[in-house]
């Protein structure tokens, strides 16, 4: 009765696999692991003692054939009760000391010039990472070794949970809130540390995975440089034909920052606020070729492109999704400005009436009107200069000042575009050229 769980407990001591919590690859995960080991061995000792008492009692006092014993009718023993109340209480109180120390340690949000802060956005069902240098990547996080990385996380839809067991415990990614998680790794990885969403987030929760690549300082700097380099616009060959499909089909949702010979460096695809969060609508594909995986780190991005081909033919056939239920509110500069204008018109109309406002309230609303108007001007200037991001930010802030609700967006997957095989070949050629 006791042997099997014991064996399992022993097997549990030795962690295995790249996603194990028992083989930490960073100082925070290690601190957690050491605390866990302490608790684990205390639990094993308690387990053995209590189960042994039970088993000994069973064997010693079991009825045997012809047993004529008449057991003494004991009703209890107050001294024993006090003992087995106090001992566990003291043990637990003692245990709470290292627990609380570790807790406050790992919950500290790192600050300082050496800290790298990355914005993490949870989406159904993929991860967006916004780097301080201004570029965005999806599902594959690169961090430098031996550096504290502060993840500032939020979600555009439902609750997710960011979990890379080798580097830290998990932390929920909650819409309407910003949560923090610190990552720190001892040394560069040969491949990567796998992780995945740990809070049930709907249909494809199981396929919302991610990879953390820990780079040496030089490699990390080189990687950042490569991500900052806009993608080249191919003009001929397969990739050139693929670019046309990309612009016509993919940029309805996906972004890519390209170096266009005519327009200069420009971001294709929608830019804006998704349900109030500055976020992408779908993974940024500008550096797709440099990634080891796609489909939220569910499929390998390898030379034969079997999975990628199938994904482009019929996405829902390899990853669960429900694009028929997508609701896509218009993103980009023009719709945001339109939204702000409508809000301003409405408020102007309200303010033109004499009554309906108390004195203080009117002043407040007028101040809002002025603030939002200047933000509208700011957005228009940005639009004229071609800076979509600044335009969207200003217009959204203006709408927010007025309390205009942003249009709701819900994206549950990629539609089936009915691409033919040659279009698929062309698209793959393009995406692979974007490293």
């Amino acid at each position: 009765m006791v042997a099997l769980p014991l064996l399992l407990l022993l097997a549990a001591c030795s962690g295995s696999g790249p996603q194990t919590t028992l083989d930490p690859a960073g100082p925070i995960a290690e601190e957690i692991d050491q605390l866990w080991l302490l608790v684990f061995w205390i639990a094993v000792v308690v387990f053995v003692l209590v189960e042994a008492a039970l088993v000994i009692s069973i064997f010693r006092f079991r009825e045997r054939p012809g047993d004529e014993r008449r057991p003494k009718q004991l009703h209890g023993n107050t001294r024993l009760e006090i003992i087995w109340t106090i001992i566990p209480a003291v043990l637990l109180a003692g245990l709470s000391v290292p627990m609380l120390a570790t807790l406050f340690n790992i919950r500290e949000v790192p600050e300082g010039p050496d800290v790298l802060t990355i914005q993490v956005i949870g989406h159904q069902w993929w991860w967006e990472f916004q780097y301080p240098e201004g570029f965005t990547t999806a599902n594959e996080l690169h961090i430098p070794a031996d550096t504290k990385v502060n993840l500032e996380m939020t979600s555009v839809d439902v609750i997710h949970s960011f979990w890379v067991p080798k580097l830290n415990g998990k932390r929920d990614v909650v819409p309407g809130r910003v949560t923090n998680l610190t990552l720190e790794a001892f040394e560069p990885t040969e491949t990567f540390h796998p992780g995945q969403c740990a809070e049930f987030c709907g249909l494809a929760h199981a396929d919302m995975r991610l990879r953390v690549f820990v780079d040496s300082a030089e490699d990390y700097a080189a990687w950042v440089d490569s991500q900052l380099t806009p993608a080249a616009v191919p003009t001929d060959g397969l990739a050139g034909a693929g670019y046309e499909t990309f612009v016509n089909v993919c940029t309805a949702c996906h972004n890519a920052t390209v170096d266009d010979p005519e327009l200069g460096v420009t971001t294709l695809g929608p830019v804006g606020h998704v349900n109030g969060v500055f976020a992408d609508l779908a993974p940024d594909l500008g550096h797709f070729g440099s990634r080891s995986s796609f489909g939220s780190a569910t499929f390998e991005n390898v030379a034969d492109h079997m999975d990628l081909r199938q994904w482009l033919r019929e996405p829902a056939s390899i990853k669960p999704m429900d694009p028929d239920r997508n609701i896509i509110a218009p993103l980009g500069c023009a719709p945001q400005i339109e939204l702000l204008r409508e809000g301003l018109d409405e408020l102007e109309d309200d303010l033109s009436h004499e009554d309906g406002f108390s004195e203080g309230d009117r002043e407040l609303r007028e101040a809002e009107f002025d603030g939002a108007s200047s933000l509208l001007d700011e957005a228009l200037v940005a639009e004229a200069s071609g800076d979509d991001v600044a335009c969207v930010m200003a217009a959204a802030e203006g709408a927010d000042t007025l309390g205009v609700p942003p249009p709701a967006t819900r994206i549950l997957g990629m539609p089936n575009f009915g691409l033919d095989e040659s279009e698929i070949d062309e698209l793959i050629a393009l995406l692979e050229s974007w490293e």
Partner: protein, 634 residues
């Protein structure tokens, strides 16, 4: 007249027969049996769902189920096992034995009792009917917002929100009934501290339910309003707070954990003394530890949210309160072991399951303490380690306890014994299967496998233990086939048990098996804890039991069978039993019709109106119905 109602014994019940007599029954024993049979049916369904889930996970990248089917099945498995199996099983035992153990003839409100059952029954049908009306609930049994309000064009989570609300009504009504029964209907001399521990645990459970269910009731209404009427309680982009749902849910959900386990603890506390031939060690401590668990259980809910971002101070507080709840739990375990110590342990099947309960509950309790270690919990949370933990508590705990209860009390229900041989096969296959299924999940969780994922890739090292877990599930299924066969076979061919096959201690063993409709010919006068035992045994100067010789007609009579007619004659006129009523079932039917209407509003408002009228008619009829339409004779 007397001849009409004289005990026409069926195997499981005495009194009138026929389907209509069961539908309109207000007899607490029949309602208990109805609860039990329904729960057993849902256990088979929920078990089947678990099997499908395990087959899907048996190997990497499983293809048995689609993601959509998987999400429905794991959600419905959880809902089923919590609300349609463990809670009604507790209701089954409580209904049947609480009045008898108190020396009462029925519960305080017999028709309310029937209403509770039928609301539960229709609630189960309601919840399951969504499978044919657009799919089963697929947002997890916990239905975290805003996922649960995200897809409003599919009615699955409407069925979840209303279904749980509905089942909550059943539990609140039943709890009020049990509390009233315990406080007002105890036999003369049955002081609170002479009540069997099972009754105590039922009382505590009832209070837990009364205080916790309204909390989730509020949350469920909010979810339903968000989904259907455009409210924004949980819509983050509009300033709603998704974490509010988690607080409301777990403020219900954690006390609920004790709702699930305390009745089983009560059952085990009855079985251990009987089969150790010793009184329960530290009766008062076991009782008050149960009460302490209940009180503390309302102060630990946020340990389900250690990764949600409450801030370290709140986490520290809930961590310490959670660790402390291990203290009263430990007291119970130590007292159970103390009960066996120095006894004469008859290792019959009920005792095996009770001992298995203790052995497995220790594991679940210890892994529970590791969850209170917040930093470690950030790794364990939402991983298979948690799945392992709560199955050790709810399967290794609650289910082992209830199965022990079935083996213990089957003779009382039917007058026949279950087979010991099959019982032992059942026990060992279930114990091994259980550990094989859920033990490996500790390892899987620690090795990073998250819960609620319909597939996992190769190369993460999870294949072997997943395979073992699936194998364990198969063994559990086989063990329950043995159990089912044992039940069916023994119902017809089991050895006759007589009223007191185990040399029991509590009042239910003093009356015939199966008990007559009115339970007691004469209301017993209680003088001791374990009163029936003290009617059979005195203690010598060393404190060892000495069997008393039964004296005919005296106060210490051992009643060994149904009394013959001549004995009963003089009491005939004095026994008041409530008459059957169809109003409870009609009222619950009206309510379920209205619930279907709410799912499909605005057109459904017609059904809401129809259901409302039926329910109002039934409640009115109920209120004006004479409590006893025709006299009842023994």
């Amino acid at each position: 007249m007397a001849a009409v109602a004289t005990s026409e014994a069926s195997f499981v019940s005495t009194g009138p027969t026929g389907l209509w007599s069961w539908i309109t029954t207000v007899d607490h024993k029949r309602i208990g049996l109805l609860y039990g049979m329904s729960a057993f049916f849902f256990f088979a369904v929920g078990g089947l769902e678990a099997m499908l889930v395990r087959f899907q996970l048996a190997s990497a990248d499983g293809t048995v189920l689609s993601a959509d089917a998987y999400n429905q099945l794991f959600t419905m498995h959880g809902l089923t096992m919590v609300f349609l199996v463990v809670m009604p099983l507790a209701a089954a035992f409580t209904n049947y034995f609480l009045p008898i153990m108190l020396g009462a003839r029925d519960v305080a409100f017999p028709r309310l009792n029937a209403f509770s059952y039928w609301v539960f029954f229709f609630g189960g049908i309601f919840l399951y009917s969504s499978f044919v009306l657009g799919g089963g609930a697929d947002g997890g049994w916990f239905g975290y917002a805003p996922l649960s309000i995200e897809i409003v064009e599919v009615v699955r989570m409407d069925f979840w929100a209303l279904g749980l609300q509905f089942l909550g009504v059943a539990s609140i009504a039943a709890s009020a009934n049990f509390i009233a029964t315990i406080f007002t209907m105890r036999a003369p001399g049955m002081t609170l501290m002479r009540m069997p521990v099972f009754v105590w645990m039922s009382l505590i459970t009832a209070f837990l339910l009364i205080f916790s269910l309204p909390i989730i009731g509020v949350g469920l209404f909010q979810v339903f309003f968000d989904r259907n009427f455009g409210t924004l309680f949980y819509e983050a982009a509009a300033g709603g707070d998704p974490l509010l749902w988690q607080h409301l849910f777990w403020l219900f959900g954690h006390p609920e954990v004790y709702v699930l386990i305390l009745p089983a603890m009560g059952i085990v506390s009855e079985i251990l003394p009987t089969f150790s031939r010793k009184p329960l060690f530290g009766y008062a401590f076991v009782v008050f530890a149960g009460a302490a668990i209940a009180f503390q259980g309302f102060g630990v809910w946020s340990h389900h949210m250690f990764t949600s971002g409450m801030g370290p101070l709140a986490e520290a507080g809930f961590a310490v309160s959670t660790m402390l709840i291990a203290v009263p739990t430990g007291i119970k375990i130590f007292n159970w072991i103390g009960t066996t110590w120095g006894g004469v342990l008859r290792l019959k099947t009920p005792m095996l399951f009770a001992l298995g309960f203790i052995a497995m509950f220790i594991i679940g309790g210890l892994s529970g303490v590791t969850h209170a270690i917040v930093p470690a919990d950030t790794q364990q949370h939402d991983s298979y380690y948690v799945v392992a933990h709560f199955h050790y508590v709810l399967f290794g705990g609650a289910i082992f306890g209830f199965v022990a209860g079935v083996y213990y009390w089957f003779p009382k229900w039917t007058g026949r014994m279950l087979s010991e041989l099959l019982g032992k096969w059942h026990f060992w296959s279930m114990l091994i299967g259980f550990n094989l299924a859920f033990g490996p999940m500790h390892i899987l969780g620690l090795n990073g496998m998250p819960r609620r994922t319909y597939r996992y890739p190769e190369g993460l090292g999870w294949e072997f233990w997943n395979g073992m877990a699936t194998l364990g599930t198969v063994l559990i299924a086989i063990s329950f086939l043995v159990f089912t066969w044992n039940l069916i076979r023994s119902l017809r061919h089991g050895e006759p048990s007589g009223p007191d096959p185990w040399d029991g201690r509590t009042l239910e063993w003093s009356i015939p098996s199966p008990p007559p409709v009115h339970n007691f010919d004469e209301v017993p006068i209680v003088q001791h804890l374990d009163d029936f035992w003290h009617r059979k045994y005195a203690e010598d100067e060393e404190g060892r039991p000495v069997r008393l010789q039964p004296v005919a007609g005296g106060a210490s009579t051992v009643i060994t069978g149904p009394p013959d007619d001549s004995e009963v004659d003089e009491h005939r006129e004095s026994i008041h039993m409530p008459s059957p009523s169809y109003y409870p079932v009609a009222a619950s039917f009206g309510l379920v019709v209205a619930s279907y209407g709410l799912v499909y509003q605005p057109v459904g408002f017609i059904a809401v109106a129809i259901g409302g009228v039926i329910a109002m008619w039934a409640f009115f009829g109920w209120a004006t119905e004479p409590s006893q339409r025709e006299p009842y004779y023994v």
